[in-house]
């Protein structure tokens, strides 16, 4: 219920944050909304010695357009992504996904950068970024680099971020008219997904079907071959080895992936 003790530093710029990370190394974790990190710290699954608070670094928040993409600052809150007229018009899938994270209170604190960096395989935004074919901007001592969503998620709670880097922005393609669909299967409204699917422009991503969000490549290939939504969706679980828990064993999970993929491909949200 109570985190172990830690030191707390407030960063006043991205540069300052990086220097603090460099100073403290693996002992330090970044804190934005804290709604991925603090719950883990409260049950002591995470015990960083130093928290570097980047929530007030203005340059890390905000939503703007940049050519064919929207650029969303890492510390932009889910509520602001969900409520942004720009995002709703240009990347409605992302606005919808952000509105599915947790509950209203969580969405007032949690951030897109925090969620992506936390990389929970059953989370909404990592899967959504994968479906969108977006990318993340990572700022480190050597400057800024961009990593495609396909290359960002390495494993459960593991990303391409090094301890001395910070995820500074998220890039997603603009396309207000692009067909999309989203399905999140839960038993209660604010649960983590048992299985979730996001579909966008022929790309299909799955949550909680493996250690990272996964592209349903079999589905995508079938679609390219002219298959209908139902036909393509039959391949949703191809190549996956999902885990299991008392909510869903592997067979049922794979079945859900197929059903939800079909519905997402039909443009349904739910």
């Amino acid at each position: 219920m109570i985190p172990a003790t830690f030191d707390y530093e407030v960063a006043d710029s991205a540069e300052h944050a990086l220097s603090l990370l460099a100073e403290h190394g693996e002992d330090a974790k970044l804190l934005a909304g804290g709604h991925s990190l603090l719950p883990m710290m409260k049950v002591r699954l995470a015990q960083p010695a130093v928290l570097v608070d980047i929530a007030r670094v203005g340059e890390l928040s905000g939503i703007r357009s940049d050519g064919g993409e929207l650029v969303i600052g890492a510390t932009t809150r889910h509520a602001d992504v969900a409520g942004s007229d720009l995002v709703r018009a240009e990347v409605p899938l992302l606005a919808y996904a952000a509105a599915q994270v947790g509950d209203p209170q969580i969405r007032h604190r949690g951030t897109i950068g925090g969620s992506l960096a936390h990389a929970d395989p059953s989370a909404d935004l990592p899967m959504t970024l994968l479906a969108l074919g977006g990318s993340v901007e990572i700022t480190g001592p050597a400057g800024v680099r961009t990593v495609a969503a396909d290359d960002f998620f390495a494993g459960p709670f593991e990303t391409a971020l090094s301890p001395d880097e910070l995820l500074s922005a998220v890039r997603v393609p603009r396309g207000g008219d692009v067909p999309w669909g989203y399905q999140k299967f839960v038993r209660r409204a604010n649960d983590w997904a048992i299985v979730a699917v996001a579909a966008y422009d022929g790309r299909v991503a799955l949550a909680n079907m493996g250690g990272t969000p996964l592209r349903a490549l079999g589905v995508e290939e079938a679609l390219r071959g002219g298959a209908s939504a139902a036909e393509a969706a039959a391949h949703a679980a191809d190549g996956t080895s999902p885990g299991y828990d008392f909510h869903a064993d592997t067979e049922y999970r794979k079945h859900l992936a197929r059903v939800l993929t079909k519905r997402a491909l039909q443009g349904e949200t739910g």
């Binding site: 219920m1 003790t5 707390y8 603090l38 947790g102 209170q105 604190r109």
Partner: protein, 164 residues
Amino acid sequence: MEIKLTVNGTARSDEVEPRLLLVHYLREVCGLRAANVGCDTTSCGACTVLLDGESVKSCTVLAVQANGRSVTTAEGLVAEDGTMSAVQQAFRENHGLQCGFCTPGMVMAATSLLAENPDPTEQQVREGLEGNFCRCTGYHNIVRAVLAAAGKLSGAEASSEVGA
């Protein structure tokens, strides 16, 4: 670390350890005990307060994160003359509380919900309160209270009995 913030309109300055949760700061340091701790996984919402006017779960906010900001608790919704807010009043009139433990958090969540959506449907109210658990009421009268506060219950709906 020293923090300066406004709590229910009053400026405060306190020395806190970084890991002090906002809910404990409010309860133990400020003496505002309406907000309750009901769980340890950011699930139940009994600790909900407003941070700069928006609902947050104060068990998952560090007091140091509230530095320079304003916090409103259920105590702070009451007018100087003791009049309860419209939401609090609606909870009372609609029997939207029984044991009362979830109530301050529920009221704060409802207050924030209506600030963002003054004209919600029943479904939107239920979804808007998905982060607040209640064990006593079955949510029925809580939902009625929020709809009533939004001015959405007509006189004909005053009784939930369908027949006798």
